[in-house]
Amino acid sequence: MKQILSLLCIFISITGFSQETCSRIIDKATPVDTARYTVAYSLKYKFHPGIKDYYDDVRIVQIGKHRVKDYSDIINHFDSLATEQIRRGADSYSNVSGNPWPLEIVRPVRGANADSKYRLSTHTFLVYSDSVPTLEWNFSSNDTDTIMGYECRKATTEFAGRNYTAWYAPELPLPFGPYKFGGLPGLILKIEDGERQFVWEAIGFQQSNAPIMEYTYQDGNDKRCSVSDVEKTLVRYFKSPVAFLIAEMGGDSGRVHIVGKNGKEMDNSEASKMSIPYKPLEIR
C-alpha cells in the first residue's frame, strides 16, 4: 500500500486545505470488549478559535464493561468502504471525504492511560499513549436543558488550559462522554470549551452488543511516539502543511502539486510558506 501511495502524485487544493486523511484497510481486527451502549455525537470543531467555519464529524462513543472507544464514524465508513473495495480486488480505494477529526481514542473505564491514534496527512499515523484526567466538576443546580428528550444538567470544569461546560443526563447514569471527558453522575450529552473551538452534542443513544474492535493497520505507516512528539509534529504540520507533505513524500517536491484558490498550480516553495492557524485542544 505504501508503494501505491508513493507512486501517486499528490494534488492538493489549498482552498479547502485542512488535512488529507487517508483510509486504512481494517481487515485485521480483534474484538477487545463488547459495547453495552453506543452514543453518537456530532462534533463541530476548528483548528483555531479565530477560524470562522467549523468542520463537522460524527463521533461514535462505544461504552463497554472495560473500555470506552471514541472514533469518527465518517473515517470508519471510508475504512470499511476501502476494505470492501480491496477485498473485491480493487487496486486502490476511495479516500476519506469531508473533514472528520482524525483521532481515535480507547481508554479503560477505570485507569489513567488511553491508547490514541492520530491520522495526520496521507502517510503519517501517530500511535501514542495519553493520560486521562480526573476532572473536578462544579455542579450548577439551576441550569437545565433537554437533549434528545433527556433532561440535562450543567457542570463546568477546567482541563488542559480550557474551561468546559458540560450538559449531562442524570437519567443515564453513565460517567462517560466524548474524548477524555467523564466523571459526571450522568452521560455527557453536550460539551464545549469556552472558545467554542470544540463542540460535541449527542445525536443518538442506544443499547448495543456490538464488539469494540481494535484494528491493526498493516501498512507500515504507524509511528509509535510520545505525547510530546505528537504535539511537536502537529505544530510542525500546521506551520507548513506543504513542506510537511513534501518531506513525507521523501523530499521529492516534484511529486506534490499544489492547486491554488484560482485553480492554478502553485509554486511549491510559495505554497510551503502558507500555514494554518492552530491551537491544540490540550494547551500544556
Binding site: H77, S97, V109, M148, I203
Partner: protein
C-alpha cells in the same frame, strides 16, 4: 517572624476546613447482597436536594468514598446506574460508613432518538431512514421515496437513483415484484418500512460479482421487525358524487416472512385514478409487434391524467415468492385490468407545408375505449456464488374495443376498432464461474406474439382509391423471435486486460396480413443474425474501460406471399460500443460512452398494399427494398455525491446522429393524408445536455431537487413529396422541493418550465412555445389527529388563445381512529369544465379543448380487517 505567622495561620485554616468536611463512605449492594460496581453516588444537602455536593462512582467492590463540605444537618445520598432503580437514603452530616441497598432494574431508553441520521452508508449501500422523511399524509412508500435526496419517482412509478432508473426493487432481499414494482411502491404502507437501502452498482448475479460491472443501482426495502410474519389485510371503501355516483375501493393483503412473501391487491374506481400505470413492467420486455392501424381517440393533454380520465377501472394482482433451498427463489406474478375510458375533445391541427401554405384539420371527437388485459409470470431463480440460473415464463393478453364519432369539416365519421394481443415469452439465463473466475454466461429468449386488429370507418374518405361507403379492415401482425448469446468469462487475462469472447444467434420471423376491400398484403420478413463478439475490458485502479465488438452476419429475407416475390439482403456488420468510467473518489465519477448500430428494416414500412392506418390516413410504401440506417451515440457524464451532506448531482452531454436510408412522411390533402417514402442521404443530429442536482437537509426535512435539460436537433422531414430540413431548440427546467416547516405543516412543490421552438430552413423561426406547470401541496396536521391537504395545480401555455393560465384545486381531510382512517376528498373545487392545450412539434401545431372531470366529493374509509 512574619513568615512563621503566615505559615501558622494557613495551617490553622487547613485544619479547620478539614474538620468542616464530612467523609462519607459505604457500599452499594443489591437486596441479595451483591456489590454493585459503577453506581453513581451523589451527595446533596437535605435542605437543597437539587444541589450536588459531590459525585463518585463505586469501584469493583461496590465501595465509594467522598468528602462533602456542607452546613446542612443531614445529607441525601442518591445511587443510580443503568442496572438499578434509583435509591435515596438520608444520612446525618457526619463522617461515617453508610451502605445503600438498591433494587435491580434496567433504565428504559427513550424510544425516539431525535436526531438519528437521515442518510448513512456502509460500503456501497446508502441507507435512508424512512422515519426521517415520513409525514402523516404519505399513503405509500412511493410518496416517501420522492422526498429522499438522490431518488426520483416518475409519474409512471419508475424509481430512479441519480437520474438513472433502478434495476431491481427488493423487499428484504427478495425480488417479489419482478419489474412490476410499481404495485409495491404504490401500495405498501410506508409505516411498515424501516429503511430504504440503495445498493449502488449492484450486480445482482452473484456469479458475476467483480467480473461484470453494473451501472445501475437497486433498491431494497427493509421492513420493521413487527411487520415480518404478520398477515395484513387492509380494505378501503369509498363513495361520492360528481355529476354521477362515484366509487373507489381497494383491498391489499401482505404477508412477509424470511422465506416467503405475498402481496395481493384489488382496486376499482371511477374517480379518475389510473390503474394501468402500476401494472407496467420496468423489465424492458418490449413487445415485438405493434398496431398498424389505430383507432383515433382524443390524445392526452399535458396535464395529470386524473383530471381528464373519465374511467371505470378494476385491477387485481397476485404476487408470491418463495425461497427454495439456500439460494433459490420461485415467484408467481399475475394481474388483471379492466378499464373503460371515455374522452371528448375539439382540436385543430395545422401542418405547415413546404410552399409556405398550411393544412388545417378541425376535429370534434368523442369516444370510448374498453380494455382488458392480464399477465402471468412464473420465475425460478437460483443465485449461488458460482452458479446462476433464471428461467422465466411470461404470458400477456389484452383486448381493446373502441368506438368514436368524429366531426371533421363537413364529415360526420363513425369508427370502431378492436385489437387483441397474445404473447408467450420465455427467458433463460445461466452463469457459471469457477474458483479461478473463469466460466460461461448463456442467455436465451423466445417470443411468440400475435396481434390481430380491425378498423371499421364510415363514411369512406378515400372514394378515389377505395369503393364503397363503409371501410372495414383486418390486420394480423405476428412475430416469432429467438435471441441467444453465449460467452466465456475472463477467457484471457493479460495484466489489467481481460477478454470475454461471446457468440450470438438471433432469428426473427415477422408476418403481416391485411385486407381492406380489394387491397391485401401478405408478407413475411425473416431476419437472421449470427456472429462472434469480443468484449475487452481494462481495469486499473479507478479506471474501467470496456470495448465490445460484435461482428455479425446479417440476413434479411422479405417474401410477398401474394406474388411469391422474394427479396434477400445479407451483409456483415460490426456494431461496436465503448464504455469508460473513472471513479475519482467516492464522491466524483466520470463516464463516457460511444456506440454505433444499424437500424433494421421493419415489416411496418415494407408493405405495398394500402392499409388504413387511421380513419383519415392511408399508407403504403413505394420504396421497396431492405434498407438499413445507421445510428451513432456519444455521451459524456459526471456524477457527484456526498452522503454526509446529502448532496447528489450530475451532468451529461449526449449526441446522437442518425443516417436513415429512407425518409417517411405525409402528403396532406384536405382532411386526409397519405404516407409517402423516399430514399435519402440526409442525416439528423440531436445534441442534448442535462444537469441535475438534489440536496437534502436536516433542517425541517428540506429536500431540493432541480434539473435543467437542453436539446437541439436538426432533422430532415418529408412533406408533400419534398424534403425539408428543420431545426429545433428546447429547454426544460424542473424543480422539486419538500419541506416540513412546522410539526403541523408539510409542503411539497414540483415545478416545470419548458420552452421550445422549431424552424423550417429558409423560413422564420416559429414563436417560442412556453409552458409552465406548478404543483404544490400543503399538508396540515391539526390537533385531534385530523390532517388537511390542499393541492394546487397551475398550468400555463402561451400558445393558448384567451386564458393562458389554468388553475385546479383539490382538498382532502383525513382522520384516523383506532384501525379506521377516514378521508374526505374534494376534487376540482373551482369546478373548471374544460382545458385548452396547445402544442408544437416538428412542423405541426395543434390546439385542443378537453373536458375536465367536474367538481366531486368522495369519502373513503380505510380499515384493517386482519
Amino acid at each position: 517572624m512574619q513568615q512563621r505567622l503566615i505559615t501558622f495561620l494557613i495551617s490553622v485554616w487547613l485544619v479547620a476546613s478539614a474538620i468542616a468536611r464530612t467523609s462519607v463512605s459505604g457500599v452499594v449492594k443489591s437486596a441479595d447482597g451483591n456489590r454493585m460496581d459503577f453506581v453513581s453516588v451523589i451527595a446533596s444537602p437535605s435542605n437543597a436536594p437539587k444541589t450536588i455536593l459531590a459525585s463518585v462512582f463505586t469501584d469493583e467492590n461496590g465501595s465509594f468514598q467522598m468528602s462533602v463540605d456542607s452546613d446542612s444537618d443531614s445529607l441525601i445520598l442518591k445511587a443510580t446506574s443503568m442496572e438499578i432503580a434509583p435509591a435515596l437514603i438520608t444520612v446525618p452530616n457526619r463522617s461515617g460508613n453508610y451502605d445503600i441497598i438498591v433494587n435491580k432494574r434496567t433504565v428504559e431508553l427513550k424510544e425516539v432518538v431525535v436526531k438519528s441520521k437521515k442518510v448513512y452508508s456502509k460500503g456501497d449501500t446508502i441507507n435512508y431512514n424512512v422515519g426521517s422523511f415520513l409525514s402523516n399524509t404519505d399513503q405509500s412508500i412511493a410518496d416517501v421515496l420522492k422526498k429522499m435526496p438522490g431518488i426520483t419517482v416518475s409519474d409512471a412509478g419508475q424509481v430512479s437513483y441519480q437520474g438513472k432508473p433502478i434495476k431491481n426493487l427488493y423487499i428484504e432481499g427478495l425480488d417479489l415484484m419482478k419489474g412490476h414494482y410499481g404495485i409495491a411502491t404504490n401500495n405498501i404502507d410506508p409505516n411498515n418500512i424501516a429503511t430504504v437501502q440503495v445498493l449502488e452498482n449492484h450486480q445482482d448475479i452473484k456469479a458475476l460479482k467483480g467480473l461484470r460491472p453494473e451501472e445501475r443501482a437497486s433498491i431494497n426495502l427493509r421492513l420493521k421487525e413487527g411487520v415480518k410474519g404478520v398477515f395484513n389485510l387492509i380494505a378501503t371503501l369509498g363513495g361520492g358524487y360528481g355529476d354521477k355516483g362515484l366509487w373507489n375501493n381497494s383491498a391489499i393483503a401482505t404477508y412477509f416472512r424470511r422465506n416467503s412473501q405475498f402481496l395481493a391487491t384489488y382496486k376499482g374506481n371511477n374517480t379518475g385514478e389510473d390503474l394501468s400505470q402500476e401494472l407496467y413492467s420496468f423489465d424492458n420486455d418490449w413487445s415485438r409487434t405493434s398496431n398498424i392501424s389505430t383507432i383515433a381517440m382524443p390524445s392526452a393533454p399535458g396535464i395529470d391524467k386524473r383530471f381528464y380520465y373519465f374511467n371505470r377501472s378494476h385491477n387485481a394482482t397476485f404476487n408470491n415468492v418463495y425461497r427454495v433451498g439456500k439460494s433459490g427463489e420461485l415467484g408467481i406474478n399475475a394481474a388483471y385490468l379492466g378499464d373503460r375510458d371515455t374522452r371528448r375533445s375539439s382540436s385543430s391541427t395545422t401542418n405547415f407545408l413546404p410552399d409556405g401554405g398550411q393544412n388545417i384539420v378541425d376535429e370534434n371527437m368523442g369516444g370510448t375505449a374498453r380494455m382488458q388485459k392480464a399477465y402471468g409470470d412464473l420465475t425460478y431463480m437460483n443465485n449461488g456464488d458460482e452458479n446462476y440460473l433464471k428461467e422465466q415464463l411470461k404470458f400477456d393478453w389484452s383486448t381493446t374495443d373502441a368506438d368514436s364519432r368524429i366531426l371533421a369539416g363537413s364529415d360526420d365519421i363513425g369508427q370502431r376498432g378492436t385489437t387483441d394481443t397474445y404473447r408467450l415469452l420465455n427467458k433463460f439465463h445461466m452463469t457459471h464461474r469457477n474458483s479461478v473466475d473463469r466460466g460461461f454466461d448463456i442467455s436465451s429468449l423466445v417470443n411468440f406474439e400475435k396481434r390481430p386488429h380491425s378498423l371499421s370507418v364510415s363514411p369512406n374518405l378515400f372514394p378515389d382509391v377505395i369503393s364503397g361507403d363503409l371501410l372495414h379492415q383486418h390486420v394480423d401482425y405476428r412475430n416469432i423471435s429467438t435471441e441467444n448469446s453465449a460467452g466465456l468469462l475472463s477467457a484471457l487475462k493479460v495484466g489489467n486486460f481481460t477478454l470475454h469472447p461471446s457468440a450470438i444467434v438471433n432469428y426473427h420471423h415477422n408476418s403481416l396480413e391485411s385486407r381492406l376491400d380489394a387491397m391485401c398484403n401478405d408478407l413475411a420478413l425473416d431476419h437472421f443474425d449470427a456472429g462472434l463478439g469480443a468484449e475487452m475490458m481494462f481495469n486499473v485502479r479507478r479506471i474501467h474501460a470496456s470495448l465490445y465488438v460484435p461482428m455479425k452476419y446479417r440476413l434479411f429475407r422479405l417474401k410477398n406471399r401474394l406474388d411469391g416475390n422474394v427479396t434477400d439482403k445479407n451483409r456483415c456488420r460490426v456494431e461496436p460500443s465503448f464504455n469508460f468510467t473513472y471513479k475519482v473518489n467516492s464522491s466524483h465519477n466520470l463516464k463516457a460512452a460511444a456506440s454505433l448500430n444499424y437500424m433494421t428494416p421493419s415489416i411496418e414500412t415494407l408493405y405495398s398494399g394500402r392499409i388504413l392506418t387511421s380513419y383519415r390516413q392511408l399508407s403504403a410504401y413505394d420504396v421497396a427494398g431492405l434498407y438499413e440506417g445507421m445510428n451513432q451515440n456519444y455521451s459524456l457524464g459526471y456524477d457527484f455525491k456526498n452522503i454526509l451532506s446529502m448532496s447528489f448531482a450530475g451532468a451529461e452531454v449526449m449526441w446522437n446522429r442518425q443516417l436513415p436510408d429512407v425518409l417517411y412522411g405525409s402528403y396532406y390533402d384536405g382532411i386526409v393524408q397519405h404516407t409517402i417514402s423516399r430514399r435519402t442521404s440526409e442525416n439528423s443530429d440531436m445534441l442534448s445536455a442535462k444537469v441535475h442536482a438534489s440536496q437534502g437537509f436536516d433542517w425541517r426535512r428540506l429536500k431540493i431537487g432541480a434539473s435543467v435539460t437542453y436539446s437541439y436537433y436538426d432533422s430532415p422531414l418529408l412533406v408533400q413529396d419534398e424534403v425539408l430540413r428543420y431545426t429545433g431548440n428546447s429547454l426544460g427546467v424542473n424543480a422539486d422541493i419538500s419541506l416540513m416547516p412546522f410539526k403541523w405543516l408539510a409542503v411539497s412543490y414540483q415545478g416545470n418550465y419548458s420552452q421550445s421552438a422549431t424552424q423550417q430552413e429558409g423560413y422564420d423561426r416559429f414563436p417560442w412555445l412556453r409552458t409552465v406547470t406548478n404543483k404544490a401541496s400543503f399538508d396540515f396536521t391539526i390537533p385531534g389527529g385530523v390532517s388537511l391537504t390542499t393541492s394546487l395545480y397551475h398550468y400555463y401555455n402561451n400558445f393558448n388563445d384567451g386564458d393562458r393560465s389554468f388553475l385546479l384545486l383539490n382538498a382532502e381531510a383525513k382522520y384516523s381512529i383506532k384501525r379506521f382512517s377516514f378521508t374526505l376528498l374534494c376534487d376540482n373545487l373551482l369546478n373548471r369544465k374544460t382545458y385548452v392545450y396547445s402544442n408544437l412539434s416538428a412542423l405541426t401545431e395543434s390546439k385542443a379543448i378537453y373536458n375536465i372531470r367536474p367538481r366531486s366529493v368522495l369519502l373513503k374509509i380505510r380499515f384493517r380487517i386482519l
